[in-house]
């Protein structure tokens, strides 16, 4: 069995939940995520690397939302995770398309953040080697139910500076996003709703939903799963425009 095939086993999922909690704490304290420190604390190093791959670009949330510095050790830690579990380059299934866009975003942000302070808005790197057409991963927006589930799976792209074709595609469909979010809340699919809340907050100027009320509703109703709380924390920062 290759390391990649083992991603998603319970130990990786547990480690990913722990890392999400770690990032959430960092966001709360206004400090960097200390990914390397997290890996040091993992009993099983490979599981820790798998967690970094699963949490992906969200390990950069403190940098992107609060301007925290990215430490060299953390750059190396994320790079190690990609060495252990190489990025998806030629996606075929829908799941692989999702992973490919997450990987594309994470590696792109890693490169940019490792090079220095965040560029000013609108000066992000040119888009190169994208994993394909956004419609391949999102599907048609007319089918907003399925479309919004894919958008939720790509919630780690709802970060300041993580722009690109998927972000542009989602920005072009504010009503589909709002409908999918409302549907998730009504179905009490809180995990999906929290992921979509990030997009709603990111695109708050064009989406016909109040991100602050949405995040608060989810905070009060959705329990205390670390992954979900991280999505809500990111959404809260995005709603404030930070």
């Amino acid at each position: 069995m290759t390391a990649e095939n083992r991603v998603g086993r319970p130990s990786y999922a547990d480690a990913a939940a722990a890392l999400a909690g770690h990032v959430l704490e960092a966001l709360g304290e206004g400090s960097p995520a200390h990914v390397a420190g997290f890996l040091d604390s993992c009993a099983e190093h490979v599981a820790g690397l798998g967690a970094v791959r699963l949490v992906g670009a969200d390990v950069f949330a403190p940098q992107l939302l609060l301007g925290s510095p990215l430490e060299t050790r953390d750059v190396d830690a994320v790079a190690d995770a990609f060495d252990a579990f190489p990025p998806v380059h030629r996606p075929a299934t829908r799941e692989q398309h999702v992973m490919a866009w997450r990987d594309w975003t994470t590696t792109r942000l890693l490169t940019r953040l490792a090079d220095g302070p965040s560029p000013a808005p609108g000066t992000a790197q040119p888009v190169a080697d994208t994993p394909g057409d956004p419609v391949d991963v999102l599907g048609p927006a007319e089918q907003w139910q399925r479309w919004s589930v894919a958008v939720a799976q790509l919630s780690m792209l709802a970060l300041p500076g993580a722009d690109g074709p998927v972000v542009e595609a989602v920005s072009g469909e504010p009503l589909a996003l709002a409908r999918g979010t409302t549907r998730a809340v009504l179905r009490r699919d809180h995990a999906t709703a929290a992921r979509l809340a990030r997009w709603v907050a990111l695109l708050r100027d064009i989406v016909p939903l109040d991100p602050v009320a949405l995040v608060e509703h989810l905070r009060l109703h959705a329990g205390n799963d670390a992954r979900l709380l991280l999505d809500l924390a990111v959404a809260r920062h995005l709603a404030k425009g930070t």
């Binding site: 409908r179 549907r183 009504l186």
Partner: protein
Amino acid sequence: MAVDPVAGTAHEVAARAITWLHANRALGAFADNATADLDDPNSVYKPLGEAALAASLVLREGVTGGTQLRQARELLDFCWDELRRGDLLYERQLRHTMLTDPLECYAPFARAGRRHHALEEVLAHTSAVDAITELVPNRRLAVANGHRVVGIPRDDDWDALTRATWLGSTPAPWAIDWFTAYCATHTVFHLTDWGARPHGLPEHVADYLAAWLPVWVDVWAEACQWDLVGELLIVGACLPEPRVDAAEWEAFAAVQHADGLVPRDGEPVAEDPSERFRDHQHTAVVATVAGTVALSRLLGSDA
């Protein structure tokens, strides 16, 4: 100009539903001589008014075939006879001055030309002195529309009545539950007089519904709440820009039985005819109204 194929679906649903209501109408009769003091107004009395409403709208729109128009007339007259050609409503209004249900029940009969002069005199008087019991806001709109349909002049502040409803305040679209969704549908029914006055909806309410109806239909269809889904389909058909979505209508039509029964929800349908009628008559009314108004709006918008 070609008519949207979903018009055929809407027509079929309505035609089957009224055929079922008509065929089973005797099951909706009073068990004995009903008086103005109804022990349980929701068991027979209210459903008679709802069947009459469906029939009156089939007749008002006149878009279904000759068979359905005959069924609608016969169904309306059956209900009217059960209410002793309005005497029961008249006696009930005299006995219980503050009740609004005689007016609400009477409106579809009046719309279809079944008039009761003495009842209208009492209704005009109770209206003049505002002898109207306190009601939830969407029900208050039902009374306002009842007065409008019967032709009793009032100076109701429709904007204020609308603002008092859940829908009128256009809350966050997830701040809704099954019961509140029914409140919202009825707000639309009365503001638009069941699709006859689409512009009776304030513009911001129409925009709000256009945005969120698809979500509500989706979640309640997933929960197999077909009665509510049917009501939401009526709402779509009542919008200034009618929403008659083919996929939503196909899903609704797919649950209709061959004899025209539309199950109210996903629970098993009883074998016993009386039980079947009691459980599912409301949904047949909803399906008749939904199909009729949708078809009429589609034909109207293509004209």
